[in-house]
């Protein structure tokens, strides 16, 4: 990385003494040309560090009196498949304004990676965000297809921590410009008065303000004709479905939507609303996890997993789901033969199926292996119950948190030359104050939103990315949700070894990168 230039900040409207003084600091640093850090080597010019002095808050009642659209701009290079790619990183804020009111709503923190020398008119641009709701985009930003990634060693928990940040050989920067954006009240994004963060903590308001950010990014960077993609994960897929409809309605045509580990209909998600609805959507995932721990009987080899999973889909749809429905409605006891079949194909003993016939992931991950807690995000990760990795309830999540938290701050400061007096909020409390109501239901069903987006833009392509070992958003449930759209040639599904964040698995990330490149090619080809 070498420094080429930095945006000159204009002074944001002051909200406190700290802010006003901090703005002076930013200017002083630029004028003095002090700074440094990064990895430019001794021959590189001094690297002035850009300081945005605004203090951002993730509190529900927080808002800024106004916001400046300022950013730090740095230039980098990456070797991908033997070719050296030069790209520009832009870290900063843009203001989302009301679609019809044009009033400022929120200032969004984003990091954009754009390929130098490309034709912006035809080059794809992809907007990435995680879920929660209330999560920043840090997991996708530093774990998936950005130009840098953290080496997690997933699914082992033996990798050195904090994880090193390395050039990403599977970055999508050769295919698309990449914009990682933080939801309001996460990262360094905040509402602008008279709004407060809480105003954007709901299914509809969140999607609407994301629409307004996309519109602002497109206008500010002259990307009107660029093929546009959304890449959301988890609740980010809920957001993407609603957002796709809102963008299409606003006249911003999308080329593609990538759904990473989906939760498209909360009303049928037994892992979310409890086993009061059928957990049949989980059964094939239990089969894959049982196989990982060599607990299935017979235990399928990894190479045979797709065939085994196909059998599990049939078992789940034809036998287990009807039996669960009967159990939930009439209390009808399941047949003994079905119980032993379930035990053989999932690793959960018959006794577990007898007490928890509508088997929820909470029971499965805590009881599959006595004394061991297996992960929910990635069930291949495990830790002894009571151990530090298990103490927060999910070793696959706990193992990542500290490294991602330390890496984002260091990366913004040293590599992207962006500093700020606020703490970057990886995960905020927004989830506990979220308004889940959507389209007449107390919990969101976003398949109609995706269908509405497809109705307005029948050229829109959808790619659903799924992990066999994800016990948070099980792939078979996603298949069932998407099947409601009917047979559509422009909806594709892909399955990989791995959990919720399939991209953390080195093999799956490489496979998915190839699939994504093909998807982008298809979605941007002339009709």
């Amino acid at each position: 990385m070498f420094w080429m230039g930095v945006a000159v900040p204009s002074i944001a409207p002051a909200r406190s003494l700290t802010t006003r003084l901090g703005s002076c600091l930013a200017v002083a640093l630029l004028l003095a040309g002090c700074g440094g850090g990064g990895s430019g080597g001794s021959a590189a010019p001094p690297a002035p560090t850009f300081t945005d002095a605004v203090l951002y808050s993730s509190a529900a009642t927080a808002s800024l009196p106004g916001a400046a659209e300022i950013s730090a701009v740095t230039h980098h290079q990456l070797t991908l498949n033997g070719a050296t790619l030069h790209y520009t990183a832009t870290a900063g804020h843009l203001t989302a304004r009301g679609l019809t009111s044009n009033a400022p709503e929120a200032t969004f923190f984003y990091v954009a990676y754009t390929l130098d020398g490309a034709n912006a008119a035809t080059r794809p641009v992809t907007f990435f965000y995680n879920g929660g709701p209330g999560s920043s985009s840090v997991w996708l930003h530093l774990g998936s297809y950005g130009p840098k990634r953290l080496v997690t060693g997933d699914p082992a928990t033996t990798a050195p921590t904090p994880f090193p940040l390395v050039d990403n050989a599977e970055s999508l920067i050769d295919v698309s410009d990449l914009v990682f954006v933080d939801a309001v009240g996460t990262g360094l994004s905040e509402a602008i008065a008279p709004n407060v963060n809480l105003n954007f903590w709901g299914v509809d308001a969140d999607a609407a303000v994301f629409r307004d950010f996309v519109i602002r990014y497109v206008a500010a960077n002259n990307r009107m004709t660029s093929p546009k993609f959304l890449f959301g994960e988890s609740y980010g897929t809920t957001r993407s479905a609603v957002l796709a409809d809102l963008l299409e309605s606003a006249g911003v045509e999308l080329a593609g939507v990538i759904l990473q580990s989906s939760v498209l209909d909360y009303n049928v998600a037994c892992g979310v609303i409890a086993p009061i609805v059928s957990c049949a959507g989980y059964l094939p995932s239990y089969g894959a996890v049982g196989a990982w721990y060599n607990l299935d009987n017979p235990n399928p080899a990894t190479a045979a997993l797709p065939v085994f999973i196909a059998q599990m889909r049939t078992l789940a749809g034809n036998q287990y789901d009807p039996a669960v429905t009967a159990f939930l409605t009439t209390g009808a006891a399941p047949a003994a033969g079905l119980l032993s079949q379930l035990a053989n194909t999932t690793g959960m003993p018959v006794a577990g199926w007898q007490t928890h016939f509508n088997l929820d992931p909470g029971f499965y991950h805590a009881n599959l292996i006595p004394g061991t807690l297996i992960g929910l995000y990635d069930a291949r990760v495990s830790a002894p119950i009571g151990s530090p990795l298990a103490i927060e309830g999910d070793p696959s999540s706990t193992f990542l948190n500290a490294s991602f938290a330390s890496a984002i701050t260091t990366y913004l400061n040293a590599d992207l030359q962006y500093t700020n007096p606020s703490s970057y909020v990886l995960v905020s409390n927004a989830i506990q104050a979220w308004t889940f109501t959507h389209d007449g239901r107390p919990l969101p069903d976003t398949i109609p939103d995706l269908a509405a987006a497809l109705a307005q833009n029948p050229q829109l392509k959808v790619l659903s990315v799924n992990g066999y070992h994800d016990l948070v958003t099980p792939f078979f449930q996603t298949e069932r949700d998407l099947a409601r759209l009917g047979p559509l040639a422009n909806v594709q599904l892909r399955f990989y070894l791995g959990g919720h964040m399939t991209y953390l698995d080195d093999g799956s990330r490489a496979l998915a990168k190839a699939d994504l490149a093909q998807f982008y090619h298809g979605a941007t080809a002339a009709p």
């Binding site: 003095a32 309605s249 500093t419 919990l443 409601r484």
Partner: protein, 147 residues
């Protein structure tokens, strides 16, 4: 890359961290004030550590919302009907005078960019205003699954 920040996993620690962050900002300011008199040593300013305010992760909903759905998930004709209702709701928001038709200006004022963009293709009669049936006909012509 060296780790120079710590993660926070509970609310109390997050609050401690925020205070540390403010203290850090103050400390850096002091350096700059000094720097006005003599050039400050080359050092990268540091942001305070990142925070994690909750260990609740997606997807999650509050206990009071954990109830079975009151109606089945729509598919087929029911789904198409819901899609049509959604599109019609957008159209009706633009139809501020309840005339049953929407002009290009009304569409623009309501933020219905797709209608503005395709207005001439939808308004085949050159009437200057389009009905919802006109919109549906246009969308079906492009391949939309609408009844």
């Amino acid at each position: 890359m060296a780790a120079d920040a710590v993660s926070i996993s509970d609310g109390a620690s997050a609050r401690r961290c925020s205070r540390r962050g403010l203290a850090l900002a103050g400390a850096v300011l002091a350096v700059v004030v000094l720097g006005a008199a003599a050039p400050a040593p080359a050092a990268t300013p540091r942001s305070p550590p990142a925070t994690i305010e909750t260990t609740i992760r997606d997807p999650w909903v509050p206990p009071e919302l954990r109830t079975p759905p009151r109606s089945p998930a729509p598919q087929g004709a029911d789904l198409r009907a819901q899609v049509e209702r959604k599109l019609k709701a957008g159209f009706d928001r633009a139809d501020v005078d309840r005339s049953g038709t929407v002009t290009r200006d009304q569409a623009r004022a309501a933020g219905l960019g797709y209608l503005v963009k395709h207005f001439d293709d939808i308004d085949r009669q050159r009437a200057g205003a389009v009905s919802f049936d006109d919109v549906k006909r246009f969308l079906r012509g492009r391949g939309a699954q609408l009844d």
